[in-house]
Each structure stands twice: as C-alpha cells, then as structure tokens.
Symmetry: C2
Subunit: 314 residues, 2 copies
C-alpha cells in the first residue's frame, strides 16, 4: 500500500468551566469537547460529524469504511483535517495523480461503484454519536459470516474487563463520552501444548497466556465515532479483525454489531446492554456478544461456542 498523507490535528479533549453545586459552591468542572467536522471526499461534502476531535483523521477514514462509501483504503491519497474550517478533506489517488475525482469515475471502477447511490439513503440509527449508515443498513448482512474461531477464555475476558477499567480515560475526568477498545485476543496467541519448564519465562514461553494486548482505546462524544476511529486506524495500519476483541462502554445496537461484523471482529463486549436487533444480527453473523460486563460479571448472549470456561475464579 502506498503511504497516505495524513495530518495529526487532535483537539484538546476537555476544557474546564465553573459549575455551582447543590451547596452553592463554585466547582471548576472539566467537560468534554464537541466539535463539528465536515467530511469532503474529492471536494464533495458528505456529512458533518460532531466529535470530540481526538482522532479526526482516523474518524474520517473509519466513517468512509463503515458507511461503505469506499471499498478499499488504496483509493485514498490524503486525509487533511483543518480546524480553521472545521473540515477534513479526503483526496483520492485518482484526483491526486490523474486529476479525475472519484465522483467523475462513479461506476467505472470497483472502488467508486455506486457512490451516489450509497449516499442517497440515510439511516439514522440508535447509537450514540455517528449514527448514520448510508445505504440499506441490512444490505450486506446476509453476506457477512464470521469464521467459527477464535476461542475466548474467561481468563482473557476478565483480563479485558480489568484493563479497560484501569484506563486513564476522559470519561473518568469529564463524563459525556463513550469509549471503545481494540484488543488482541490472548487465546489466539497461546499454543495448546503444556509448558514443560519448571519456571516458565513469561517473555518467551509460548505456553504462558500473555493476556490480551490493548491496541487502541478511543473515546468520543458519540460511541459510533469511537468505533469508526478504531476502524479507520485498522484500515490505515492493515490490521485484521480475526484475532481481535472489541470492547465498548456503549449499548450493543444494530449498528455497533454490524460495524464489528464488517471489521471481521467475532468477539464484542460491552459494559451496557443490547437491543433486540443487535442480538439478532449477532446471531446471524456469528458474533460472540457479551453484555453487562461489570466487575467480574457478564451475560453471554450469542456465539457461546467461542467461550471456554477455564476457571478464572480459581
């Protein structure tokens, strides 16, 4: 893949304002930022997102990916955020190298096929935040089937919940944001043979469960922005979803489950609950959906075949 020209224009995540509490005292209180960010693809306006602005380039990429506006990141030459104009300009390789915009190419290449059509239908979904899916929400559901693996041990599950709880988060400081985390599933890194060493070396012994590794933790004023920013980062870095775990503080609505399925991630955890449609889509696509992850408790809703109870409570 050719390199993409990318700005790095994160906004400050919180500001502090004075509030008055119930005892009449003035309390300086950090609050989360919220900024309008208008996306342009080859100079055509697509949408305005309201975002914390902490990862605007990844958000723009992930939005294009999850809305299925573009089918491959190879079409993109540059992502340039400019907070002076509250905008992000996405430039295609076609425009950059040949002076022909994707809009003029519409229908001529697989990358650009049906751009207009995909923009025509609007679905405003339940999620916090970037809750719009262009095109028929259910269009590609029938084509999405996640592979049976990988397994998830409850040791890994508990470790994910521990790691997420300990994150230094904007939420702890200012509230009003949702967080999403992408982790490598520890179970996929552990071979099945038993260690024969008396004192296994955690650094090199492949039989020791290394625990899940957190790759990204993104917060945003909308949970759909947070998941899109992770999807954009995965696209940019060429990171595959197959051996990953996705965690969100937000509810598991249809759109959250669809986005995870699109990213190829088979294990989806949430601190919150789920909706009927989220449940149905998880069943259909073969996702392991675990909700109400709090403390050491959880409820497994779908995809039970992946969960291996290896006795985390011992």
């Amino acid at each position: 893949m050719k390199p993409i020209e990318l700005t790095r224009q994160a906004r400050p995540v919180t500001t502090t304002v004075d509030a008055i509490n119930d005892r009449g005292e003035i309390v300086p209180t950090p609050i989360a930022g919220e900024h309008a960010l208008t996306l342009y693809l080859d100079k055509r306006e697509l949408v305005t997102l309201m975002t914390l602005g902490d990862a605007p380039e990844h958000l723009a990429l992930g939005w294009l990916r999850n809305q299925r506006i573009l089918r491959s990141i190879d079409a993109i030459a540059a992502v340039q955020v400019d907070w002076e104009t509250d905008s992000v300009a996405i430039t295609s390789r076609s425009l950059r190298e040949r002076g022909v915009s994707l809009w003029d190419l519409d229908g001529e290449t697989p990358l650009s096929q049906g751009l207009d059509e995909r923009l025509r239908h609007r679905t405003v979904t339940t999620g916090c935040g970037q809750g719009t899916v262009f095109g028929d929400l259910m269009d590609d559901i029938d084509a999405l089937r996640l592979p049976a693996g990988p397994i998830l041990t409850d040791t890994t599950l508990m470790a994910v919940m521990d790691q997420v709880r300990k994150m230094e988060s904007i939420y702890k400081v200012a509230g009003a944001v949702h967080g999403c985390a992408l982790l490598v599933n520890a179970a996929t890194k552990v071979p099945t043979k038993v260690s024969t060493k008396a004192t296994p070396d955690p650094g090199t012994d492949p039989c020791l469960d290394p625990g899940p590794t957190m790759l990204r933790f993104v917060e945003d004023v909308g949970r759909h922005n947070a998941v899109d920013a992770i999807a954009g980062w995965m696209w940019l870095e060429g990171v595959d979803g197959a051996d990953k775990i996705f965690y969100t503080t937000g509810r598991l609505t249809s759109e959250m489950v669809i986005k995870c399925a699109q990213m190829g991630i088979a294990v989806l955890l949430s601190r919150s609950g789920l909706t009927g449609m989220g449940h149905a889509i998880a069943q259909k696509t073969g996702i392991t959906l675990i909700g109400r992850c709090q403390g050491r408790h959880y409820l497994l809703f779908t995809g039970a075949q992946r969960l291996v109870r290896d006795g985390h409570e011992r």
Copy 2:
C-alpha cells in the same frame, strides 16, 4: 387546528432472550426492541430511524419539527405507521385536500419553503439515536433566545429528580434505552404571596408548592428519538415549552440543547454530563443547564439566575 389522523402502533418494548451468566447459568433476560422506521412525507422518503417503536407517531412528528422540515403542524393531515413495511407515511393537508404534494409546492408557501435545501445538508451529531440535523445545525441559534423566566426552586429540582428516579422504566428492566421527561415547573404555578391559613389546603391553597407535574416520560434506544417523541407530542397537543422542565438520562450535547431551545424550554436537566458545545449553546440561548443530577446532588452550569435556593435540605 384541524384534527390529525393518527395511528397508534406501538411495538412491544422488550423481548426476553436467554443469556448465560459468569457462573454458566442460563438467565432469561429482557432486552429492548429496536426497529427500523422509514419516514415518508407526501410519499417521498426522508430518513430511516432506528427506534424502540413505543411512540412512533409522536417520533415522526417530533423529527419533522426538530429537523425544521415543517414549520407548523397545521401542514399535516395524517401520520400513519405501518410496521408491515416498517414505515410511517406523513400526509400533508395540501396533498390530502388538493392533491398537491408539499414537494411540488416547495418555495410557494411558508410551510414548505426550502424543503429540499433543508434535506441537502446532513449533520450527524453526537447524541444517542436520532442524531441527524438537516440544515446547518447552528443556523437558527442566533435567533433563539429564551425569556428570562421562569424560576426553578431547588425544592422543585429535588422533586423532579425523585419523580424520575421512581418511574417504572424500560431501563430498569432491560437497559439500553435513554429516557426523557417533560414536567410542568411547579414554581410557575405558585404565586409569590405567603399563605395566611393556619392549615393550608394542598388542593386549593395557591401558596402551597404543588410540586412538578410529569406530563410525558418517553424512552427509546436513542435519546434523540426520546426528545423528538416528546417534541411531537407537544406539537400535537399544542403544549408550550415556557413553563416546562426537560429531563434526560442522556448527555447534554449540542443537539439536545438546541432541541430544547427550539421547543422553548428554558430548564434542562440531565443525570449525565455535558459537552463544551452543549455548554456554549445553553449560554448563548439562555438555558438553565443542570447536569449530574444524582441523588440530591447536581451541578448547575448555565442560567444560574433562574435557580432559587429555597432550602430543600431543611
């Protein structure tokens, strides 16, 4: 106002599915419904909302109102929800009575002016749920100024928090929803003179604070749906916002504050936090914004002149 033809097509709010808990036990678990609902105005498709489906007619009306698609409910003859096709057909009086759709009239009447223009720009906002404002989100902010009154006593504030906490809610059963409540501000019903009766009669004595009256409590998988459903009900019933209090379980983002200002409601409470833009818009429009309402605690962020500390803690 002429009567509007309205279906009453609420969906069941929860279904029960089997989950497996962390001890391996099967736990029947109620989960919130989520349904696609496509809005048509005079046969033209506007948007698909993902909703709990508990108040779809009010949701459709409130969406048209809060997106400023229609400027008056007088333009509407019928709102007909059909879950067979997951759709709601809104029919204008113009089409019903004269066979001319609002789209054909575009620009010819104040009711329909700029319909296409308003649909052209999409803003996907931070909120849970119906987070799209067509047209420039900030367009009308400069024109919105709420009157200085009414006052809010902290006795009323505590009573609102009590009432909301005690609601039999879908949230308590299934989670994954946000709630919004519309209440009459008790203070606006209380004259300033002091009662001279030895034993005031709560039924007739105008000097006894009657407490806030809850008019509506709506839950939805998206908090923007819940606020829209309340806006639609207010439009339908001709209910003014001036003496009302709005409560939401959700975060106070720009869109929530803008919608309250559009509804003419000067007092906005939330169990959650707020964003910088929500704060700025509340300041600009003159809204009293109170966040983190939990137990007997709260943080007042803007519009302090309305809050009267009458000693609820005595």
